[in-house]
Amino acid sequence: MAQGEPMQVKLKIRRFNPETDKKRWWGHYQAEVEPTDRVLDALHYVKWHVDGTLAFRRSCAHGICGSDAMLINGRNQLACKVLIKEVGRKITVEPLLGLPVIKDLVVDMEPFFEQYRAVKPYLVNDDPPPATERRQSIEERERFDDTTKCILCAACTTSCPSFWARSDYLGPAAIVQAHRFIFDSRDQASQERLQILAESNGVWRCRNIYNCTEACPREIQVTQAVAEVKREMMRRRV
């Protein structure tokens, strides 16, 4: 693939419109893109020039908002991050696994956010606020730096076989969010969060399969975060 030269790619997209379709079906499209374009550009091409009924989510288009995670060539990726030259001329796009499809590539994220809320993803500190900020050393901040990068795109959770098998499993994204606060020196609810994660739908459902770590567009060491939470539970005997 020569850089910068327009080329034709074949897109196979999983379609479903609940108002007209009984079953999901495959739509086949051609798009003209450049090797350095992103899969998102190919989807735009289809929507803007071929079939305006195609539905997918995207917002920032720069890997920040986490709206356009989808199954691209069999792996969860952000359409706005993966380049055409990385996926080749034949591209298969499907909605994320495990979440209900609203239309085409748009899934209902509510079950995912429900898991997220379950781990209390906010700072809990009942001490009276100091006159300035709540201070933290560089080392203390460093402890949970990796897990602050999560953009809640659901690529990790929906790539996890444990989540596919048991929908009530809290999933890697929620555990990453819990990790971010459990190891925050300013937080006072880590024991509570560990107790939530020690339930049968918590961290012990993780089988170290690493699909989540491979799928994370922010390169968070997701499985390591889960393992650190497991270790902390063992240490505190939760």
Binding site: E114, W164, N211, E214
Partner: protein, 130 residues
């Protein structure tokens, strides 16, 4: 109750996981293999000295055959080695940064420990001393 979508086995297996997903799939298969092995013993014991004495004998003959012995040796050994890797990972999370190397190390130890006895079993089968 969460309103999630059921993922079929086919959809799950089509997911392009890397070597650690394969390691997990193999862990499940070998686990089922062990269960199957125990099952054959239960069946053989159940029919022993009963109406189906012949069934018991043929099941025993079957699970004592060299190919089945090699299969079960593979299952037990792989399941144990992979399980130990998971234990190490859970106890020392920092090693997870080297998960690929750890997986290679597992195979590096597994292959001779499995291969050599398996080879000897095959050898004795062909020399007729099995």
């Amino acid at each position: 109750m969460l309103r999630t979508r059921r993922v079929s086995y086919l959809e799950g297996l089509r997911y392009q996981g890397k070597e650690s997903m394969l390691a997990w799939v193999l862990h499940r298969i070998t686990g089922l293999g062990i269960l199957f092995f125990v099952g054959t013993h239960v069946v053989a014991a159940f029919f022993l000295n009963a109406i189906g004495d012949n069934i018991s004998k043929s099941v025993t003959l079957w699970y004592e055959s060299t190919p089945f012995q090699i299969f079960i040796y593979f299952c037990v050994l792989y399941h144990a080695f992979n399980g130990l890797r998971l234990v190490v990972e859970d106890f020392y999370p920092p090693v997870l940064r080297y998960r690929r190397e750890l997986l290679w190390l597992q195979w590096l130890i597994f292959l001779p420990v499995f291969g050599l006895p398996a080879f000897l079993m095959v050898l004795s089968l062909f020399s007729g001393s099995a």
